[in-house]
């Protein structure tokens, strides 16, 4: 009987000790650093997208419901959609205005557009322009890479210094 009691005691000691150790590790973990404050830029922004091809819905999109056509042109900042269009004509700019949520600091616009499958292999382009208070702020052109889809990230850094607004964008 003594042996059984000893085994049980050993069992409790080992697992109890382990549990206490794990709990201590949890409490010792440093608190996450607070996020820097997001300061919205005061200007009124518009986003303009022009393509050299007719933009069509993507036949290879995941469609988990039957609701309408999938987006042919989609622009988003993180998970927030800025622009979602089902069809776009070549050379005709599509504009979203005003674009809310532009912050001082780095802004990333993710863009994806689908071209007709017949144009696969041909070189086509998509131009994005950010316009602030009616003036062009930044622009970037994305080129296709032989696929039926253009996807890219348009990065625009908005800094406020003593001279007023100063913009830069990463290519």
């Amino acid at each position: 009987m003594k042996r059984i009691a000893a085994v049980l005691l050993l069992w409790i000691a080992v697992f109890g000790g382990l549990a206490l150790y794990m709990k201590r590790l949890e409490t010792k973990r440093p608190a996450p650093a607070p996020e820097p404050p997001r300061i919205e830029s005061p200007a009124v922004y518009a986003l303009e997208v022009t393509t050299t091809f007719n933009v069509e819905p993507d036949p290879f999109a995941l469609r988990t419901d039957d609701s309408g056509k999938p987006a042919a042109l989609l622009v988003r900042i993180a998970e927030r959609e800025i622009m979602r269009v089902a069809e776009v004509q070549a050379g005709i700019p599509v504009r979203a205005e005003p674009v809310a949520g532009i912050i001082q600091g780095m802004n990333e616009f993710f863009v994806e557009a689908n071209m007709p499958l017949d144009t696969t292999g041909k070189s086509v382009a998509l131009r994005m322009r950010l316009i602030g208070d009616g003036l062009p702020v930044a622009e970037q052109t994305f080129w296709s890479e032989g696929e039926s889809r253009i996807a890219g990230t348009f990065r625009v850094g908005l800094d406020k210094d003593k001279e007023g607004n100063k913009f830069h964008h990463d290519k």
Partner: protein, 318 residues
């Protein structure tokens, strides 16, 4: 001795009580996996790409079997009775609706994977028939896959995220496959893009990749859309004669046999028309396990390589 045994058995009980030690599935998932029973090899492959190892995917047709003329066996009935979800191609590919009947008799839900695809309608002797071989265009394959992911997500909602993640990746694979086919086909001069096969299975392929311009971008074959006995199916002497004339008139450099169709007829036609056999294509069924055509992507890749190698070689000779 008894005490020692007692201690040992207590230890074993304690170890067994630890979560996960004797569990077959480390994630603690239920043992019973949903069972999907598919009619054709293509549908089964699409289903496997979507569900991975989360479900059991079974296929009624063996590689190389003909879905138009297939007669279900008692074994198939048993298989369908054990299904949580049945999947078929639709558009009458399954001759005399054999899959629909099996699912109905067993009282199982049935998904038609080709639902939502605008069918190519072909006229045979005054009858208009929808061509069921829609998977020959990767953009239609994307519709099959989307129909499957929707259906299985309803059957097993807990796995929805997993299914959608796999489907997203597979759809990208189909996109790349489509781009690659266009690039390969582009090696053949447009006037040399003549595809003559055993039966009318390649209408969607011809239309997507611009083969058989003089035929209105449709298949050229001695046997109709089905190898069975449905309307517009089978072979007639007029049709045979017309194909031989078309081969000569269009200047087809080669004809192709199909893995799931008896090659005798197309060989006779090749001999009579004085053209070569360009190779063997996967059509109504994919290849055996271990072969290059055992998956949809592999089957399409092998077909395109066979077609482009044969037709571009002939184009160079001219």
């Amino acid at each position: 001795m008894i005490k020692r045994l007692l201690v040992l058995s207590m230890l074993l009980v304690a170890i067994a009580a630890c979560p996960g030690v004797f569990a077959a599935d480390p994630a603690g998932r239920a043992q019973k996996k949903p069972v999907l029973v598919c009619s054709t090899t293509q549908v089964a492959d699409f289903a496997r790409q979507v569900v991975g190892d989360r479900c059991v995917v079974q296929c009624i047709l063996a590689p190389g079997a003909d879905p138009h003329t297939y007669l279900p066996t008692p074994g198939d009935e048993k298989m369908v009775r054990g299904a949580d979800l049945c999947l078929q191609n639709g558009l009458h590919l399954e001759g005399n609706n054999w899959m629909g009947k099996l699912a109905k008799d067993a009282g199982k839900p049935l998904i038609v994977c080709a639902d939502g695809i605008p069918p190519i309608e072909v006229e045979y002797g005054g009858n208009r028939v929808s061509d069921p071989h829609a998977w020959f265009s990767p953009r239609n394959a994307a519709v099959y896959v989307n129909n499957i992911v929707r259906a299985i997500s309803e059957t097993d909602p807990a796995g929805r995220e997993e299914y959608e993640a796999r489907t997203r990746l597979y759809l990208q694979t189909l996109r790349v496959l489509d781009g690659w086919i266009r690039e390969q086909v582009n090696r053949i001069p447009p006037q040399q893009r003549i595809l003559v096969t055993s039966h009318d299975a390649f209408n969607y392929f011809c239309r997507e990749y611009h083969f058989n311009a003089k035929q209105g971008y449709l298949s050229l074959a001695p046997v109709g859309w089905s190898t069975g006995s449905e309307v517009g199916a089978g072979m007639t002497p007029e049709r045979r004669k017309q194909v031989i004339e078309s081969i000569r008139q269009f200047g087809a450099p080669a004809v192709f046999v199909e893995t799931s169709v008896n090659p005798k007829l197309i060989r006779e036609i090749a001999l009579e028309a004085g053209v070569e056999i360009g190779g063997e294509l996967y059509s109504d069924s994919m290849g055996k396990a271990g072969s290059a055509g055992e998956t949809y992507v592999g089957m399409m890749r092998e077909n395109v390589i066979t077609i482009t190698n044969s037709l571009s070689r002939k184009a160079e000779k001219r």
